[in-house]
Point group: C2
Chain length 386, copies 2
């Protein structure tokens, strides 16, 4: 519900064009936290722009200072020439995960055919050290290929090392991969990845919240990382030294409640120190391959890890009726009746009866008033259900 | 409170000698679960022996069958000759952790000067694959040396691979190491470890619940593993394939509520599959070195991991008064006021005031009605307390 503001900025009439207003904001200020972000959140992109032009906001601010030199028409021509599409919140293709950020991008510049609308369901961030070891790049490439084979999109940052291996692994199996850049989409960084980035644009997408022409600076890499973390279902870090930038991505993922997973490595490798530390002290999940990742991140019921791993044991013989209850029973610490009833959606009576059947099957054990799964190692082999 | 039973077994008067009765039970039956175990638990070693001799227990049992051929005097001479001491429950030196087993040993045969009374406080089990990689043996050896340097005793099974590396690492720094064997203490298994076992006896101890002369069988290795797990504070597995026997030790440790920790490795190594799987699905802790192990297993307050790891941040400036409260605040999911008051032992008013100070220090954040620690990565550097 925006009204035509009659506003003209940088030689172009903005009218009620929210998209154009957001493009202009991306030209006026660095992304991330700051006064401009607050203005846009408070007044909307159009409203804030109107106030800024009217001199009613941060007169001495960088944004106001940049108003004068702005040539919006030229910017739009540049975007059209490179076939860059511009997404804003509310667009069908807008990666809705970005809305969970305190400081979402004003807009997202995109090149390439991939549909970003799928990222929040099927995008998995695969990041790690630039100075990766052959072990790390091998694991990243393989994991990316396997994730793509199962229909997921691999999102990374096009950096050297793990990022490149992730993109390459996706491309190798004809999968979809998305690179978030810390510079404008007309630029190539690192320069050595011109070919890689070109191939990503060919079948996947490169994205940035920075206008064309903008260069990669340190702060912009950190801001770029938050897009990778928030757009996706979860972040997997393959190798990370104690201060790796990929841990910054993991931090954001954690903050916006995405899955955070780490690939372990030799404890003698400095490039696994960050991963191990996160598993040890930050509660990150340990993953060893794509199946582990999907076990954690795939929508409930979609990925059947059991198919691959579990031997044929009694739990295969659990009747449909008790399967939900069985899933609700914790492995380590037991849960009490009311907790299990709530988790399984059964009445207390049905829950108790079901637990009885599971205990009889040797799948669940009761201690005092709590039930827990019998560790697989102690379970009897399956008996064929009568 | 045992009375002289007037009992004679295998040519020796047992009288009221509980120790002798337990030695005799160890000669009559395999250790572990079974009828004999139940008899001894029900009637006591002396009482059960009296009933057995009187033919009132399991007439056709293996135990009864072995009564005839028993030459107890010869057994005792053998123990004296090898300077084997025999521990039973209640002895000062008895490893009290063994009492947590469903099927504790009847007695424990011991050679070597180490005092087993310390194991429940300072014994750490370090086990793993026989077919270990150079990576695994390097890590195990180093971890064992470092644990011994900090005054801990390394317990293992004298097998090839990780076990041997653990014992060697302990011996290399003049530390104490204990080997639990799956055969009688007059035997050497594996034969290639005659020298290693000799050195362990010289400064540490070898232990077994099996009488002299008994050979190592598969089942006896599994039973031996339960001693390693139960006697110690916790079990660290350094390398383990998917079905490694060391995971059997971890299972027992888990069952008797000991710490279970795993050393990660390359996800491309089959010998780390078991370790990763336990971290991923069984809640085992990931440890990378001795400091991590002690962080987990050392008595509260004894091991100051902080000394090694934490940078100087604001938390160092927390006043003594708030330190308890700070420790009680969870890292990931917040806790509410009543939970924190209960955990810190403060009144609700004092808790609220303390939380206020911690929030002001930037150490704790409040979301709705829950408080949690601010992740270290986001904390401001320490300011000197005024």
């Amino acid at each position: 519900m925006t009204l035509d503001t009659g506003l003209t900025v940088g030689g172009v009439g903005v009218g009620s064009d929210e998209r154009l207003a957001r493009i202009i904001w991306s030209l006026l200020t660095e992304p991330g936290p700051g006064a401009a972000q607050a203005w846009v959140q408070t007044h909307g992109a159009l409203g804030a722009l109107e106030l800024l032009v009217a001199g009613e906001l941060g007169q001495g601010s960088a944004a106001a200072g940049r108003l004068d030199g702005l040539d919006v028409a030229s910017v739009l021509r540049g975007l059209a020439r490179l076939r860059v599409r511009v997404l804003i919140p509310g667009d069908r293709e807008w990666p809705v995960g970005l809305d969970d950020l305190d400081d979402p991008p004003y807009c997202l510049y995109v090149r390439g055919p991939a549909d970003l609308a799928t990222l929040r369901e099927r995008g998995i961030a695969l990041v790690g050290a630039r100075a990766a070891t052959p072990y790390g790049t091998t694991v990243a490439r393989r994991m990316a290929s396997d994730l793509c084979d199962r229909g997921y999109t691999v999102v990374s940052g096009a950096a050297y090392g793990i990022d490149a291996a992730a993109h390459e692994g996706a491309l190798a199996v004809g999968g979809t991969t998305v690179a978030a850049l810390a510079c404008g989409l007309d630029r190539v960084y690192p320069a050595g990845h011109a070919d890689l980035i070109g191939r990503i644009i060919g079948t996947g997408a490169v994205v940035s919240e920075l206008p064309l022409g903008w260069a990669p600076y340190r702060q912009r890499f950190l801001l770029r990382n938050r897009l990778i973390a928030a757009a996706t279902v979860g972040t997997v870090v393959v190798e990370a030294g104690p201060r790796s930038g990929s841990l910054n991505t993991a931090n954001t993922a954690d903050r916006v409640c995405r899955h955070v997973a780490m690939v372990p490595g030799p404890v003698t490798s400095q490039l696994s120190v960050g991963c191990h530390e996160w598993i040890r002290t930050r509660g990150a999940s340990l993953v060893t391959d794509a199946a582990d990742v999907l076990d954690l991140m795939a929508p409930l019921g979609e990925h059947a890890q059991e198919e691959r791993r579990a031997p044929e044991v009694a739990e295969d013989a659990v009747e449909e009726f008790d399967a939900t209850l069985w899933s609700a029973v914790p492995v380590r610490r037991g849960a009490d009746l009311m907790t299990l009833a709530a988790a399984s959606g059964l009445s207390a009576t049905d829950t108790l009866a079901g637990l009885g059947r599971l205990v009889m099957s040797g799948l669940v054990e009761r201690r005092d008033d709590r039930w827990r799964k019998v560790p697989a190692a102690r379970r009897a082999p399956a008996t064929v259900a009568g």
